[in-house]
Amino acid sequence: MAGRRVLITGVGSFFGGELARRLERDDEVEHIVGLDTRRPGARLERTELIHADIRDPKIAGLIAPTRVDTVVHNQIVRQPGPGMSPRTMHDINVIGSLQLLAACEKVDSIRTFVVRGSAGIYGAEPHAPQFFTEDMARLFPLRTRFQRDAGEIENYFETFARRHPGVTCTMLRYQPAIGAGVDTQISRYLTMPVVPTHLGFDPRLQVVHTSDAVDALAVAVRNPVRGPVNVAGPGTIGLTRMVRLAGRTTLPLVGPFFGPVTSAAKRVGLPVLSEDFGRLLRHGRAVDIRRLEEEVGFSPRFTTEMALEDWVQAPARAAA
């Protein structure tokens, strides 16, 4: 499969930039196009940058001439960063995906679609199976806004895949990522002055190392499979153990106070804990990654526990 031409949306994010860098080193990839309104943080050499907003219908005219055969949709926001309203997040996720698909509708060179989606679609439920497999996405009702957005995005892609049988659509369902030097939902949470938890709960959590997260995208570009694929570091870790390894102090809150206290924390500039994340901190979630290992052919190098330990030890390594 020499001469691949790849489009990456959200190339200004850590994952988009890193993926572009990795593909630049791959001789089989002839051309890389990055779409974003932000400048990529990574130093890119041969990536063609298109400055455009994914929500803008004009991207159709910009994508068609690139003659790409692969699109990596990497602009799905999991938690609004500083200065981003939930409304904007919803727009980028749902309207952005919709515009992207509409733009790709007429580009008949496209053979592969890889989406960096979220395992958040499974939700966090007290009596869910300990490990979700890919066919369990609709086992429980979609409770939060992000879950409903994720569900909607997946529906769009399923419809697109049905209409274009020649295109292989891979929906990667990522667990939260963690890694040195990358600002993620989990790292923001674990660096709060005190870490709010639900009193009396110690959920099983699962994370993926940021380097594995990027590798999984790269491997999926090379070997796409149809349908959803879970991405996570093997194994799980209890929240209590996670916070203790990070050397933090917990602030256990009784159920009804969790929401008000964490939203008050937001006012003083602390990270926002979304409704999704709050549920995750109560009931936890883990996924089964057999499809990733056996069908996509990618085995994460870091287990959940190793990913966390690596992140904890990173500042000491940097200082040495």
């Binding site: 007290p126 009596h127 869910a128 199976p129 300990q130 009396g200 110690d202 099983r204 194994g235 153990r241």
Partner: protein, 310 residues
């Protein structure tokens, strides 16, 4: 027990350690240096745990924690319920196996005593994993403790995965119908669901070990229930026993009945092949066979045990 002198000395050292800017776990370990050996070990272990230095498997099972609560379970096993265990050798010493037991007593004490019976009487003891009623996992503390001692949410996917990784799994097919049955129906097995446990055993080729537990059905004699209270707290049922809820938290103390646990001959399933899991008639037949075995053993052993509270 630790005397007052060493205890005060230890506290003083802890305080000094903290003042010198040590972390809590380090200060605790320093303080423990003046305590007697056993106590010192316990404090050191607790301090390590505070530092996040403990292992849990992917299900949240924490063997060290399970060992820590053993003395309490020992007390229940020996003194409180005076448990006698028969036929522990019928449980395979290694590899996958599915134990199927009658369920009674509202809280899963029967699961803990089955574990204890195996740990004490089996030549190759191991902790079984048990499937626990879903509702327990929405409760604070309870959910944490259950996971730490080897409980998982009652989902066939969980059982399948545990058996595939060659664990010993215990299930209670009566489910909530068993725990919630009134006292006058004790030792009368309820319906065994739809035989889902047999499907799991066939699919994974695990032998089925029927387990008959006598004694658990007297620990919380359920005389009635309150549907409105159950609705209010979202539980599957709200039991009324001679002690609960009248005595408040003390009403949760189980009655000290005498127990007899018997592990019956294993029923092999591997020769049927994994596709037999879809054979309805075989599944129901095996399910009925297991149920009959347990029921017969229960009636036999109730007589053998004699009076419950003697």
């Amino acid at each position: 027990m630790v005397g007052v002198g060493p205890a005060l000395g230890a506290l003083r050292l802890v305080r000094e350690g903290l003042r010198q800017g040590l972390d809590a776990p380090e200060a605790l370990i320093r303080g423990a240096s003046v305590l007697p050996r056993d106590t010192r070990r316990a404090v050191e272990r607790a301090a390590r745990r505070l530092d996040g230095d403990y292992r849990e498997d992917e299900w949240g099972f924490d063997e060290e924690f399970a060992d820590l609560v053993l003395p309490f379970l020992d007390f229940l096993y020996d003194r409180w319920w005076r448990v006698r265990t028969i036929g522990a050798g019928n449980v395979p010493g290694h590899g996958r196996a599915l134990m199927v037991a009658n369920h009674a007593g509202i809280l899963p004490w029967d699961a803990t005593m089955i574990s204890m019976g195996l740990l004490r009487e089996h030549p190759l003891p191991r902790y079984p994993r048990f499937l626990v009623l879903d509702w327990a996992f929405s409760l604070p503390w309870v959910s944490v403790a259950i996971r730490k001692v080897g409980g998982v949410a009652a989902s066939p996917f969980n059982a399948l995965r545990l058996l595939e990784s060659d664990q010993l799994v215990a299930v209670f097919p009566e489910g909530v119908k068993g725990t919630g049955k009134p006292f006058r129906e004790r030792y009368r097995l309820q319906r065994f669901g739809r035989g889902g446990f047999v499907e799991l055993a066939l699919r994974t080729g695990s032998p089925i070990v029927p387990v008959a537990v006598v004694g658990s059905e007297e620990i919380y004699p359920k005389l009635g229930e309150s549907a409105s209270l159950a609705r209010a707290i979202g539980s599957p049922f709200f039991p009324l026993t001679p002690l609960f809820p009248w005595l408040g938290p003390a009403g949760v103390v189980p009655l000290p009945s005498r127990w007899l646990i018997e592990f019956c001959e294993p029923i092999p399933t591997v020769h049927h092949g994994p596709d037999a899991a879809d054979d309805r008639s075989l599944v129901l037949e095996l399910s009925e066979q297991v149920r009959d075995t347990i029921q017969a053993k229960l009636l036999e052993n109730v007589v053998r045990r004699g009076p419950a509270f003697a």
